[in-house]
């Protein structure tokens, strides 16, 4: 057992941190949040040029053959920098799914395009029921000749406004099926929803959208276990993003506590403030250790239902505690829209509920415990 990162992983982290701190001052984050697309195509290209989209895909699909754990390290940095845009959707949610269950033709057709950043993918899973279990899926796909016809409404679909393709989870005859759907197909319309993290979550309506049978990803009717894997990867990667987020919030808070003076001394010299910071650091480290463990297990291909559930349940609540204390220590300045802290506060809330919150995962853990 050892917890240190490898030299390459340290390099990856440093490179990512330098690049993002250079390219992504908070003013730029704000511009991206306010833009219609929600990301910057130039930055997207640069990230692709650095090999980030294909980081964990095999070389034969235009990737660099690194691991999910390596990807987690990169995502942690993205979390620290508040990077907006469809990276998560395209790479974590979609790319990995295609890699996992796509046919050879599908992998060869799509993965290099994801890796090069040329095409953006996303996942259309959740619906009005707002849950991550199968009972929440009502969108239907019925076979008609060589096609399936998809009808229904998906909610909280990230980045549908810029996606070229969507992985759509729909009910079929005897189960659930995942389809690769061209986002420009006739019958698809979307509305961007206003969100707390200012990310582009969309309502996407599928009105008799025709999808060729060859676009089924994996096996028809047998899609749900894969959906669970998507959620699992999404949750694990979210945890890493959250680590980046709360580490940054802690760093900012400690810096502020050292600088800010009241009663003639830095507020960081007051014991209550010190203890708040100590509590934050403990939460951050617990989140990091469990996020790494989950990512490592996914990387190694080990069964990790319980570990991912623990990491995500913990991260969700730890993030809220950390952000609450970060705000308390920052005083009023921290609740202004011009202060950087709010970027983290908003993202922490979105991340807490995405891919399952603590209540959801506590039940998973309970089952894993044999209760």
């Amino acid at each position: 057992m050892q917890l240190a990162l490898s030299e390459e992983q340290e390099m990856l982290r440093t490179m990512a941190r330098d690049f993002l701190s250079d390219k992504l001052p908070k003013a730029t984050v704000k511009e991206m949040e306010e833009s219609e697309a929600g990301y910057s195509p130039e930055l997207w290209k640069e990230m692709a040029g650095l090999g980030w989209m294909g980081l964990a895909f095999p070389e034969k699909y235009g990737g660099s053959g690194m691991s999910f754990l390596d990807l987690a390290i990169l995502i942690e940095e993205m979390g620290g920098a508040c990077l907006p845009g469809p990276y998560f959707s395209s790479v974590v949610l979609s790319g990995f799914t295609i890699l996992d269950i796509g046919s050879e033709e599908q992998k060869a057709a799509y993965l290099p395009k994801i890796a090069s950043g040329e095409k953006i993918f996303t996942l259309a899973l959740t619906e009005a029921g707002a849950s991550y279990d199968a009972s929440g899926i009502e969108t239907k796909a019925s076979a008609e000749g060589d096609n399936y016809v998809i009808s229904g409404t998906k909610l909280f679909v990230p980045d549908a406004n810029v996606a070229d393709y969507m992985l759509v989870v729909a009910k079929t005859d005897k189960g659930f099926t995942i389809f690769i759907v061209d986002a420009r197909s006739a019958g698809i319309s979307y509305t961007v929803l206003k969100t707390i993290a200012e990310d582009k979550l969309c309502e996407v309506v599928f009105d008799k959208v025709k999808v060729p049978k060859t676009n089924i990803l994996g096996e028809p009717d047998k899609g749900w276990p894969e959906v669970e894997k998507i959620i699992q990867r999404g949750a694990a990667a979210k945890c890493s993003e959250m680590v980046g987020c709360i580490q940054k919030a802690l760093d900012m808070t400690v810096e502020y506590a050292k600088d800010r003076k009241q009663y003639g001394r830095p507020i960081g010299s007051f014991q209550v403030i010190q203890h708040y910071c100590a509590d934050m650091a403990t939460d951050v480290d617990g989140t990091r250790l469990s996020a790494y463990k989950a990512a490592w297990m996914l990387s190694e291909g080990l069964p990790c239902t319980q570990e991912v559930a623990i990491a995500k349940a913990w991260a969700g609540e730890a993030c809220q505690r950390v952000m609450a204390l970060a705000h308390q220590i920052h005083g009023a300045i921290g609740v202004t829209i011009d202060h950087d802290l709010q970027y983290y506060t908003r993202r922490a809330k979105a991340a807490e509920v995405s891919f399952g919150d603590a209540t959801f995962y506590r039940e998973v853990v309970a089952r894993e415990m044999g209760l």
């Binding site: 050892q2 100590a278 570990e307 853990v365």
Partner: protein, 390 residues
């Protein structure tokens, strides 16, 4: 990064489990909470010593096995899982042996380490005094040089295992004129000497586990001094890092957790097992989540030690976290057992052997012993986060 234990380590864990399960099966002892500090069983300690499980991490030249701290963590984790009565050797194995390896003279090593390895040193830790708790450096117990001896006068308190101890690790003032941190030394000596009087203190559970220890004109040989005279305070800080670092800061009441899970499966309310009540499930799952996060903290600390560093802020962090977890476990057990929690362990109809009752009371001390949570958070804030002290 690699979270896997080696094959040998997994085997080692299994070996410990088999050993402990075998002991329980033979009826040699029953699993209980706090057994690492309250379960004094010299015969058990002898058997553990025979297995070679004392001094696991000490260098081979001193009779240890030179194994990594992770291995010891595995050992203690299993001891705590099964609530094994390991109190006789726990302190000596955890920190005193290591301190002697580190600071002792060759003669001291030759004399003392084999005794610890044989499981014959039941050590008390003589640090706290009535007026020296968190501020240990303000201690008053004196050690005065007199020819080949030191004369000890004063009082220690809260000495865990004091009624069973045959050796004491004592921190005393050797230079009353020096600034308070710089006039303290450490001693290790037998407790059957004239002038030592041990008075048990009944703790909140009704049990006797800590004691007052009075020293009146106690003559100890000069060779009892461990390390450098007047440098004792700095030595003890380092030892405290080890004292705080262990699994006993997370799993002292682990047998309660297992028992509680079993209890919820076997106990019906409104016709259904408690374990199917969503609130109960949620509470137990949350405990499991917190336990696993705690284990990661603990393993991190062991890894720091294996890197050759004293675990400093890391063990402060893990101890604060772990002891708070243990208190939440006790709290959840109480909520789940409801009205029954009022029944004391000796009572008719007490559930889970009174573990919830015991744990609720005993866990109050967890966040005080070996450094209160407040003091440990100070350490974390000042040393890791480098916040200003004024």
């Amino acid at each position: 990064m690699d979270f896997r234990l080696s094959e040998e380590q997994e085997k080692f864990r299994q070996e410990i489990r088999d050993f402990l399960k075998g002991e329980i099966k033979q009826g040699l002892w029953e699993p209980s909470c706090d057994a690492w500090i309250m379960g004094h069983d010299p015969e058990f300690t002898k058997r553990v010593s025979k297995k070679g499980w004392i001094g696991l991490t000490w260098p081979k030249e001193h009779g240890g096995q030179g194994r990594p701290y992770i291995d010891r963590l595995i050992l203690t984790e299993e001891m705590l899982r099964y609530g094994a009565p390991a109190a006789c050797h726990w302190f000596a194995d955890r920190q005193i042996g290591g301190a002697i390896v580190h600071y002792g003279t060759d003669e001291q090593k030759k004399e003392l380490l084999p005794m610890i390895l044989r499981g014959e040193a039941y050590v008390g830790l003589g640090m706290s005094e009535p007026d020296a708790g968190s501020d240990l450096a303000s201690l008053k117990t004196k050690a005065t040089e007199d020819g080949d001896s030191y004369i000890i006068d004063g009082q220690k308190t809260w000495t865990s295992g004091g009624s069973h101890m045959n050796w004491i690790y004592l921190v005393a003032r050797t230079d009353p004129d020096a600034p308070k941190h710089r006039g303290i030394s450490e001693f290790f000596f037998r407790t059957d000497l004239a002038g030592i009087n041990v008075v048990p203190i009944v703790d909140i559970t009704g049990g006797v586990h800590f004691n007052e220890v009075f020293f009146e004109n106690v003559r100890i040989p000069k060779t009892s001094l461990i390390g450098e005279k007047n440098k004792g305070f700095y030595q003890i800080l380092n030892q405290l890092d080890y004292e705080r670092s262990g699994m006993e800061r997370l799993m002292a009441n682990y047998p309660l957790f297992e028992a509680l899970i079993k209890y919820t499966k076997e106990t019906k309310r409104k016709g259904k097992p408690l374990s199917q009540d969503p609130l109960v499930r949620s509470k137990l799952a949350q405990l499991k989540i917190e336990l696993e996060i705690g284990r990661l903290h603990m393993y991190r600390v062991a890894m720091v030690m294996d890197e050759g560093r004293a675990p400093n802020w890391e063990s402060s962090m893990s101890k604060v976290y772990g002891t708070a977890f243990e208190q939440r476990l006790a709290g959840a057990a109480i909520e789940i057992t409801g009205l029954y929690v009022q029944l004391s362990p000796q009572s008719k109809r007490v559930p889970i052997k009174g573990m919830a009752y015991h744990s609720y009371l005993s866990s109050k001390g967890y966040s005080l012993q070996a450094g209160s949570s407040e003091v440990l958070k100070n350490i974390l804030a000042l040393r890791k986060l480098e916040l200003p002290s004024e």
